[in-house]
């Protein structure tokens, strides 16, 4: 700290000179290529490919009753571990998608999500494309370049709705998503798409009221068409 003043003066002079050499162009940052994040995600997965969801989550397989809302919103260490596990699976899917040596996933279906009569107004002009990715043991829904209008105080949630031959519904959450999400979301392993005649992908607004069932405020929805 003894030469602190001298150091500051040098820094000031340097900042002064640099600022004077800058132009408005220097203030504009370029967006990275769109596929760069996928490459990074894939490489992170390649660092620890042996981890699987069940082992990492620290959660007993029989411990099925999970308060999803409190876990998301408190950001506990447990949640971090669970999130880590899920991302690993997604990493696996992305690795396969980017042409890695051991491709183990394929596109198993896609869905075009549109606004339907009775849905919330925000979805009226929206179309979201979804791709369903599958490995031997896991499936994921990849939302493509979806820009979703946020609602203050509410979350966006991604759902799968399975409809069986008798018309019975089975609903499963893929979790809270971000409004600019073009992300990949794992399908819960107890949601067996093959058990249903029809599977729908749905995005809804969910008030933060502790009720983890679907609010009914759907924005867009579409049927999965098998590839």
């Amino acid at each position: 700290m003894t030469d602190g003043n001298l150091q500051l003066d040098e820094d000031e002079a340097r900042i002064d000179a640099l600022l004077r050499s800058m132009t408005d162009d220097d203030l504009e940052f370029a967006a990275p290529p769109a596929d760069l994040w996928n490459d990074i995600e894939a490489a992170v997965f390649a660092d620890s490919p042996s981890v699987t969801v069940g082992e990492e989550s620290g959660e007993s397989p029989t411990n099925n009753v999970v308060d999803i809302t409190s876990r998301f919103r408190r950001g506990t260490a447990f949640f971090a571990a669970a999130a880590a596990a899920v991302v690993v699976v997604i990493g696996a899917l992305v690795v396969a998608a980017s042409g890695n040596d051991s491709p183990s996933f394929e596109v198993v279906g896609d869905a075009r999500l549109d606004w339907q009569e009775g849905f919330v107004d925000e979805g009226a002009e929206l179309t979201v494309d979804a791709t369903i990715l599958g490995t031997d043991s896991a499936q994921a829904v990849q939302l493509n370049a979806a820009a979703l209008p946020p609602r203050a105080g509410e979350d966006l949630e991604l759902w799968l709705i399975g409809i069986d031959a008798a018309g019975e519904l089975t609903i499963s959450t893929l979790g809270i998503i971000e409004s600019d999400a073009d992300g990949t979301y794992e399908v819960p392993d107890d949601f067996d798409s093959s058990a249903f005649d029809t599977v729908l992908v749905d995005i809804s607004y969910e008030p933060r009221d502790g009720d983890e069932t679907h609010s009914g405020a759907s924005i867009v929805r579409g049927e999965i068409i098998d590839a």
Partner: protein, 200 residues
Amino acid sequence: MTTIIGVDVTSSRSRYARNVSAAEVPIGHDIETAFVRGDEDALRLAYDEYGRLVYSFCARSLDPERAKDVTQEVFLSAWRARERYNPEKGRLGAWLMGIARNRIIDNVRSEKRHSDRRADEDTVELSTEAEVDAMNDKMLIADALRELPDRARRVINLAYLHDLTHPQIAERTNIPLGTVKSDIRRGLARIRRHLEDQHD
């Protein structure tokens, strides 16, 4: 088709499969802490926050393909070495830029050696480092400017990038001369702290 797609999900007949955590959820604490702790989505948060800064730095010094590769290397090596990052010593963005600086210098050096085998290596290395360091500082200054209040950013922009005198700025913006001067003084102090984050 329409009737199926329009099913009423709020019907009491609906059955819920077991809920499983989402893949991508903001955890709601600062990126720095999450990054050191190794939360998986911390890398995504860091990328969202600093991806443009790091990539722009690379893109100004390297060709587009290399810029992309080096940006990927920066985030990966930062992630792998995250335990070495100390949030108390500076912002994550500055740390990432420090890693980017070293990678860019390595790349530029090998490019220059390759393109001109007769060049004196010492000269090449000195000029490379100086250029990349200047670019690094310019990028951090630009990043710092973005975080300044609108008025201070505008005033500093006019004073330095557009070479206006303080009275000229006061006249053009209708901001009192004293405010122009204090905005500039405080703004420069914040920029300096922004750069010091990296130099510590």
